[in-house]
């Protein structure tokens, strides 16, 4: 698919979504509870004019980036290790299941209680929520690594670095992409909760204020703004990288 037709499909898909929303808002007829797209756009512009929109988005984005990176690095390392060592997996595997099922809210509360209402506690809480997901995905990848290719690399005298770069990482690429995609969505959702519970700024904090005023237009405006950013990351970063990593496939 060419870049143009890809963008075309993307626009069509989101266009249909906006149309459905608009029709539903008109049919429902209460702009306070379900505002039409233009009303949300107005709220977005109003928030942008005060500068609150950008400063809050930036703060939230920074938290998303920090916790996402932390979770990907630690989760990948842990997952790959568990995938390669059955003993370690038997030992640590149950912990992963435990943390996977621990409610995000509990982790956030405990982090705040134990480490205080500080930035590092907020970022750590989000990362801890995400690490088990990344670890589980990468564990699958590491367990599925080809023994045939590893043997080939050994016989042909590949160095550690060469083996990692040309044999192992390409096999893990789809798993990294899966973990990154689901990770971005999850991390952004949890960051908002963290901000709502214990941060004096960010989109989550702003949403809380809007919620107290039953200001649905502002709530949707922030959701829209961030939704667009995530779409941009998906279209501009994750998908091109995935295509580059997959161009060898038939």
């Amino acid at each position: 698919m060419t870049a143009v037709s890809r963008l075309g499909w993307w626009a069509l898909s989101l266009g249909v979504f906006v149309a459905v929303w608009w029709l539903a808002a008109l049919y429902y007829g209460d702009p306070k509870l379900l505002p039409t797209p233009p009303l949300v756009l107005d709220a977005l512009i109003a928030a942008a004019k005060t500068g609150a929109l950008f400063s809050n988005l930036l703060v939230t984005l920074a938290r998303v980036a920090a916790s996402f990176l932390l979770a990907m690095v630690i989760g990948s390392a842990l997952g790959i290790f568990l995938g390669m060592s059955p003993t370690a997996d038997r030992l640590v595997g149950p912990w992963i299941v435990l943390f996977l099922n621990l409610p995000a809210l509990v982790i956030i509360m405990l982090c705040y209680v134990w480490f205080g209402l500080v930035e590092s506690a907020a970022v750590a809480a989000v990362a801890i929520n995400k690490i088990p997901n990344v670890a589980v995905t990468l564990r699958e990848g590491a367990a599925a690594l080809s023994r045939d290719l590893a043997e080939m690399a050994r016989i042909y005298g590949f160095s550690r670095w060469k083996t990692l770069r040309h044999v192992i990482l390409p096999q893990l690429a789809p798993y990294f992409a899966a973990a990154a995609r689901s990770g971005l969505a999850l991390v952004w959702k949890i960051v908002l909760v963290v901000e709502l519970l214990g941060r004096p700024n960010g989109v989550g904090f702003e949403l809380q204020t809007a919620f107290q005023l039953w200001d649905v237009a502002t709530i949707l405006a922030y959701a829209l703004a961030f939704g667009l950013i995530v779409q941009a990351i998906e279209l501009g970063l994750i998908q091109p990288w995935e295509r580059a990593a997959n161009r060898w496939r038939r």
Binding site: D148, E151, M152, I155, Y156, H166, P170
Partner: protein, 247 residues
């Protein structure tokens, strides 16, 4: 100079999920002279691949030793039963990756690929090639290394006979131009006679050498199926109990 002396006192295939442990080798000895082309001929499942893995040094779970005369650590090329190319690297990258980086390596790889009729496939990813072409790339990778010792594990199975025959010609040609000590595993007696200058007939388990035959055929004679058939008949007649592959 790379002669190989294989001496396996004991090699046991460990018990896996209910199947009992199997003794594969017991007091097995084989000497391979420098620059000789030795075919190891025997039925499937005998342990021939295991033998190659022991020589290659990836299977160390055995009692005994493998010694190389001439070089302590010879350069080993290995053509596996499946091509084992890296699907996410191009044909040229697959051939150059095992080599020392440098312009000379790339040139050598390109020359070999051209000799194999893959001169215009440098930038193609392996999965877009036919199995026959993938095998040629794997051969190029093994030869580009300028190996002292070349291990080949039924490198031409699951190809149609015509393609396999072309690849055998190609291999014979390559060996003439780039001499190396070769251990060639096969269950196809015709292929063994056609290529090797020594055929070691294996039986077992535990694996023992049933016959060890020198094949003295000219390059022309090897291309004539009648000649090959005659030698093959003589080779297998003496061991009728072995139902060798019918080719």
């Amino acid at each position: 100079m790379t002669a190989v002396r294989i001496d396996i006192a004991e090699k046991v295939f460990p018990a896996v999920s209910g199947a009992p442990a199997r003794g594969l080798y017991h007091d097995f000895r084989l000497e391979v002279a420098d620059k000789s082309f030795v075919a190891l001929l025997g039925p499937s499942g005998l342990g021939k691949t295991t033998l190659l893995n022991i020589v290659a040094g990836v299977d160390r779970d055995f009692k005994g030793r493998v010694a190389f005369d001439g070089k302590a650590a010879p350069r080993i090329g290995y053509a596996f039963q499946s091509p084992r190319l890296l699907p996410w690297r191009t044909v040229l990258q697959n051939v150059t990756l095992p080599l020392e980086p440098g312009a000379g390596s790339v040139e050598r790889a390109k020359t070999l690929l051209a000799e194999m009729g893959l001169g215009d496939a440098h930038d193609v990813y392996p999965e877009r090639l036919s199995l026959g072409m993938q095998r040629r790339v794997a051969l190029a990778r093994a030869f580009a290394l300028q190996p002292d010792l070349l291990l080949m594990d039924e490198p031409f199975v699951s190809l149609d006979e015509q393609t396999a025959e072309r690849l055998r010609d190609l291999l014979a040609d390559l060996v003439r131009r780039h001499p190396a000590t070769i251990l060639f595993v096969t269950h196809d007696s015709r292929e063994a006679v056609r290529l090797a200058d020594r055929v070691v007939l294996l039986a077992g388990p535990p694996v023992r050498i049933e016959r060890d035959v020198r094949i003295e055929l000219s390059a022309e004679a090897r291309r004539s199926s009648g000649e090959v058939e005659r030698v093959r008949g003589a080779l297998t007649e003496a061991a009728p109990a072995l139902s060798l592959a019918r080719g």
